[in-house]
Symmetry: C2
Amino acid sequence: MTKTNSTATNLYCPKCGKTYDLSHQHQLCDCGSPLLVKYDLSKAASIVSKADIAGRPATLWRYKELLPVQEEENIVTLGEGLTPLLPLRKAGAAIDIENLLIKDEGIIPSGTFKARGAAVGVSRAKELGVRQLAMPTNGNAGAAWAVYSAKAGITATIVMPEDAPKITRNECAAAGADLFLVRGLISDCGKIVGKMVREQGIYDASTLKEPYRIEGKKTMGLEIAEQLDWRLPDVILYPTGGGVGIIGIYKALDELRQMGWVSGPLPRLVAVQAEGCKPIVDAFDKGEAESTFAKNSQTVAFGINVPKALGDFLVLDAIRKTKGSAVSVSDDEIISAVKTLAQSEGHFVCPEGAATYAAARKLREKGWIAKGERVVLLNTGAGIKYPDTLQVDVPYLDPL
Amino acid sequence: MTKTNSTATNLYCPKCGKTYDLSHQHQLCDCGSPLLVKYDLSKAASIVSKADIAGRPATLWRYKELLPVQEEENIVTLGEGLTPLLPLRKAGAAIDIENLLIKDEGIIPSGTFKARGAAVGVSRAKELGVRQLAMPTNGNAGAAWAVYSAKAGITATIVMPEDAPKITRNECAAAGADLFLVRGLISDCGKIVGKMVREQGIYDASTLKEPYRIEGKKTMGLEIAEQLDWRLPDVILYPTGGGVGIIGIYKALDELRQMGWVSGPLPRLVAVQAEGCKPIVDAFDKGEAESTFAKNSQTVAFGINVPKALGDFLVLDAIRKTKGSAVSVSDDEIISAVKTLAQSEGHFVCPEGAATYAAARKLREKGWIAKGERVVLLNTGAGIKYPDTLQVDVPYLDPL
């Protein structure tokens, strides 16, 4: 066995402070809160340098000292990470943001950022001896966990709404997952998974109910810092459903600051939601610490149709601590942004990712984003996973 | 303007030897053959080292001395290249190939290897002042050229069979391409494009009718060499439609050999086709230098449904010069391989990529692949682009 040199020391509860060890399976804290991973960051800063990391392969495992997996042999990888961070000159100019960038998470196994959480989550599940896991999903997380579980030899039980993107259903089935459909929302799927977990003792891989998915998502923040030569941007806009990504990015940047690898204020984090499902935006506007279940939620950006996120309080905390914001955009604005990004920049993004462009436009118009600020849009997935987002009418030509 | 330090010197015809300059638009040679790019390889070996390349960003532009683009400003990039090369331990053991690897071209903008040809092809088109280009496509090439053309501000006219994967239609439309559908095969689309090009003077971006797409595809070979620490594998299996990839890989490895960066015999290159469309396999078996148009061709692996490739003679030459082979597999074998790779390895690949696994099995059974040989499967695209490859029947659960 070869050690990864992970500097993870324990799990801790961000609500009540209770700690847990790393060598056993843990789900939520006894108090009901998600658990987070704690690292010995001064040790991390002493055993690895920025130059060391620059010389490593182009996957998220280049940050292994800041990841929880203990043994190299337990790493389950499909080559995920170090996705492109690219300038959007034309689309930026169109909304008066000169220094606009996109972090394109479509260029990753399974085509969405969910691969990061699955890679680290499944690796830790394997390390902890998990044989079967279960989760509710809006599609993409289930697909990612299904393929990584297949690689690891773990049985994945996936429960998704029948309206989830069809391709994610096929990915799960192809990977040999135990897949079930539900005529309802992800919250309905979550109840079913909860019952399975209670009654059958299956490992619960639901969003934030195991502590390692967030560590995979965290690597988006590490990469943004490294790709900008360890100078942080002013604003990061993130499409927010369960919110694990925004929590993870905040955690990553905070850890880098503690290591002394970045300095100055953290980027202002913006949670972007759809008008048809905006519990975080409402809670932010009202100054509340937690969100309220959004009834009858609906949006074309299926991945962020999450009526109530378990980690809502952590999302709100990350936004407020960074002087960020929460913004909602309409489905029409989302569709329009998909077209603009594809036509002017060649980035065919998912509707969730497109929502961040629409939100950036609004925040610039209001002056909340200032002239000259460096702004990163987080595109969480490839547009090719959503064949029905755009209605296309194509003319025919006759064969000669 | 910043020079790329490209060592390209001119174009040449592999059939009649005629040469052409790099500063004007060229299509086919006057003799009708595709043109290839020639480099000053001793200069390349003197101005760049393996260590230089190792320190560069993780895109195909790390090999810029061996690419034809002259000015950095003309590079049109969406972050393509350096796709994962990963071991397939379980799937390898299942077919008695211990040292089996997959080069996964699904992890790239637009989800297929076509992004490489488009990135380099569109960059050169931009450099040469092209304002409009046209091409026939089985879908994925059109999608890739549409998004890169959008980024470059070039108008792309794309003509595809109505049976091409629907998502590729949406990608083209989203990117603002002039898209047309045809009730026919890619060969019918090719005739239409030919007429457009003749009558309207549009730049012809059809397979091998411009000399730069192959240079993008070539980078798959450069990457395989670099990722294996400059020790070449024994066999590379490649799903072959137009065949640009296999020609490109051969060209890349031959150039590396001339530079002294690799030594020993080149990998045996295997062209993999579907039983329903196997013109290259037939020509190889008959010892012919060119293929014959495959009538009534049909296969689930839509991307390799190419009845007659313009570069067939170059494909056959590459196979023979490397002591390679050409193999066909059935659609049933392809579907079965899609499932095996997803279930045992977590790689949800396209049917074309899966065909290489089925072919490797056959070649091992015949003893053509020897025990212990290192074998690379080239997966040309992500399974998520083909939602209808697998028929999936999923049970429902009732909401609680």
